[in-house]
């Protein structure tokens, strides 16, 4: 008998995702897949799910292994060659600390929830796509940790990121964002993470971090970025397939999906407030301004490219998008001004932008920087000249939904803080914007449970009543937080550069990490 012909990759994919599936005979379908009906999404034919990549496990593993090999070769040579001394400045790593503390734990959360989808979606096609994404996300979490662990030997702020993700005030922003997504049903999660995060906003998150790495001498992170890029394009395709699949299955799905787009655009956009300041303030060598990135990756690519396509299904651009567009002139400045005042309680450091940096900011933001923000930095510099450093002597009011301090201003009035509130069951709740207020009023029962860091400190749940108590509970070590100038990291850097040029001496790791 002739040996069976080897199947093509397409045939293997079909065999894996379709032929290995079977019709249930011992249990009802709704018992085996109990979570795909309560959200109100109607699916008539799961086989209509199209996975344009048609990956099989063996092909997937082969690609990923090759990418890992390349990444770890770069990491090894970087570590052996003291590559960290090639950074533009150690303050660049503030961006990476934020990434490690804020984003890496989200990769792991994504891994977990896609694994859940890989079990609980009814169709074999979407289950297999979710399985691949689940493995990608786990790989991303691991490779990010390995990439940045090189720096942990020499620099502050990277030693307790997992612990801090669950505790520190600004990290409750990404954490609560993802908690919101994973506690939703499977279809809302697909729109929240698969579509809004991985498609609508992904370029605004990843391109700034990875380009920032390449502009600032961070070869490992840049290599990680390349290694993740092909996965990310698969995730974008999955997100787009998910939304099209839902919209095509039943017209009743359209208003449900629209409301999720409205909610998750604003949730994601508020999370990206942290990225905006990273681009405009944290990077020693600038890549592009937040305003430029927003115009290119969101206004042009999404509002100009994606939404006209989705209009075919009756989908309109997200609610409150006009506020995000108007905010591009002020967002990053307001956020970094806030981080400057509160960095005594952060796992990164801040400083007054240099003269050159302020000149760049004025060029990028001709309508706002010199008028509104330069005077504030001038006043902060005068405090420094008098031997002080401005830190906010208190705790800020937080938004109940996004959990960012209520620092954003009224649409059209950049000098007045936006204050919104809603009463629900006799209690008052505060919001930073119309977008967050709208999200709360849709599902107040969900957001009344918010673990707001400021309120938790006042309830005595964060290590004690004083600032040092709370910082100890955050596991912040000396040099992790506060001002950049004169910081442990900065002085170590200067010593390393002085000694390595004089004696070619390798730097000693900083104690405590």
């Amino acid at each position: 008998m002739a040996a069976p012909r080897k199947l093509s990759m397409k045939q293997r994919y079909a065999a894996l995702t379709r032929d290995l599936d079977w019709d249930l005979s011992y249990v009802d379908e709704d018992k085996a897949y109990p979570y795909t009906s309560f959200e109100g999404i109607k699916i008539h034919d799961w086989s209509k799910w199209e996975d344009p990549f048609r990956l099989t496990i063996d092909a997937y593993m082969k690609y990923q292994a090759e990418k890992d090999k390349r990444l770890y070769a770069v990491l090894d040579s970087f570590a052996q060659g003291q590559g960290h001394l090639q950074l533009t400045d150690p303050s660049y790593l503030n961006a990476m600390k934020l990434f490690l503390q804020g984003v890496t734990p989200l990769e792991y959360q994504a891994h977990r929830n896609f694994a859940y989808l890989a079990r609980f979606l009814n169709g074999p096609g979407p289950r297999f796509a979710a399985l691949c994404q689940s493995q990608d996300e786990l790989r991303h979490a691991q490779t990010e940790i390995h990439t940045l662990s090189n720096y942990n030997k020499y620099y502050q702020g990277m030693h307790s990121w997992q612990h801090q993700h669950d505790r520190v005030w600004y990290l409750s922003v990404p954490k609560s964002y993802f908690d919101d997504a994973v506690t939703a049903g499977p279809f809302e999660f697909l729109i929240a993470i698969g579509f809004s995060f991985e498609y609508l906003l992904t370029n605004l998150l990843f391109v700034p971090f990875m380009s920032g790495a390449s502009f600032n001498g961070d070869l490992p992170t840049m290599t990680f970025g390349f290694s993740a890029q092909s996965d990310e394009s698969r995730h974008m395709t999955l997100g787009l397939e998910a939304i099209k699949f839902m919209l095509e299955q039943d017209p009743d799905n359209v208003p449900i999906v629209q409301a999720w787009i409205d909610k998750w655009f604003w949730r994601g956009y508020r999370l990206l407030a942290l990225v905006s300041q990273m681009l405009d303030y944290m990077l020693p060598r600038k890549v592009m301004s937040w305003k430029e990135a927003f115009e290119l990756y969101f206004e042009e690519q999404m509002l100009g490219g994606l939404f006209p396509d989705l209009a075919y299904y009756g989908i309109t651009p997200p609610r409150h998008v006009e506020h995000a567009i108007a905010e591009k002139e002020v967002l990053s400045h307001q956020v970094y001004w806030t981080l400057y005042q509160f960095s005594f309680a952060a796992g990164f450091t801040t400083t007054i932008p240099s003269e050159d940096a302020q000149k760049w900011l004025a060029e990028q933001y001709p309508q706002t920087f010199e008028k509104l923000y330069k005077p504030l930095w001038g006043k902060a510099a005068a405090v420094v000249d008098n031997g002080g450093r401005y830190f906010y002597q208190g705790l800020p009011q937080l938004c109940q939904v996004c959990q960012v301090p209520m620092l954003f201003t009224e649409p059209g009035d950049p000098t007045t803080i936006c204050q919104r509130h809603t009463e629900f069951e006799g209690e008052r709740y505060d919001f930073c914007s119309d977008g967050c207020q709208w999200i709360f009023e849709r599902e107040p029962e969900k957001y009344v449970q918010a673990w707001l860091p400021v309120h938790q400190i006042y309830q005595g749940n964060c290590g004690g009543p004083t600032v040092p108590d709370v910082l100890a509970w955050y596991k912040l070590q000396p040099g992790d937080n506060g001002e950049i100038a004169g910081n442990l990291e900065q002085t170590a850097w200067e010593t390393w550069h002085a000694t390595s040029s004089a004696e070619e001496q390798a730097p000693a790791p900083v104690a405590g990490n």
Binding site: P34, Y35, E39, L407, T415, T416, E427, R428, E445, Y458
Partner: protein, 108 residues
Amino acid sequence: MAVRSIGEYKFPSRSRQELYGDDQLVHLWWKGNLWFCAAACFRAPKAMSWNDFVGGMVNPLFSCDPEFDAATTTFTWTVDDKPISPAGDESLEALGVGHKSLITCVAA
């Protein structure tokens, strides 16, 4: 609209007043002064007098602004958008300050 869920979905607020005993959360906003990036949140006794609030909470915070002078800077005040004219001895509660109220001041 209520949360769509797989079962009953009812949880208490994680910031409800009873968690603070005889105290409550109070927000303080110096409107129009961008030196302070956001309004502040304090935990204050309901029975705290206005003078104690100003001396113990308002002034220490506002003193971060080098242009602020507790002796000469004067303000007009509102509580949740209602004007108040505090004399000094009234309690926060008597001035209409409730849990998570917003006390706003504008420099005169």
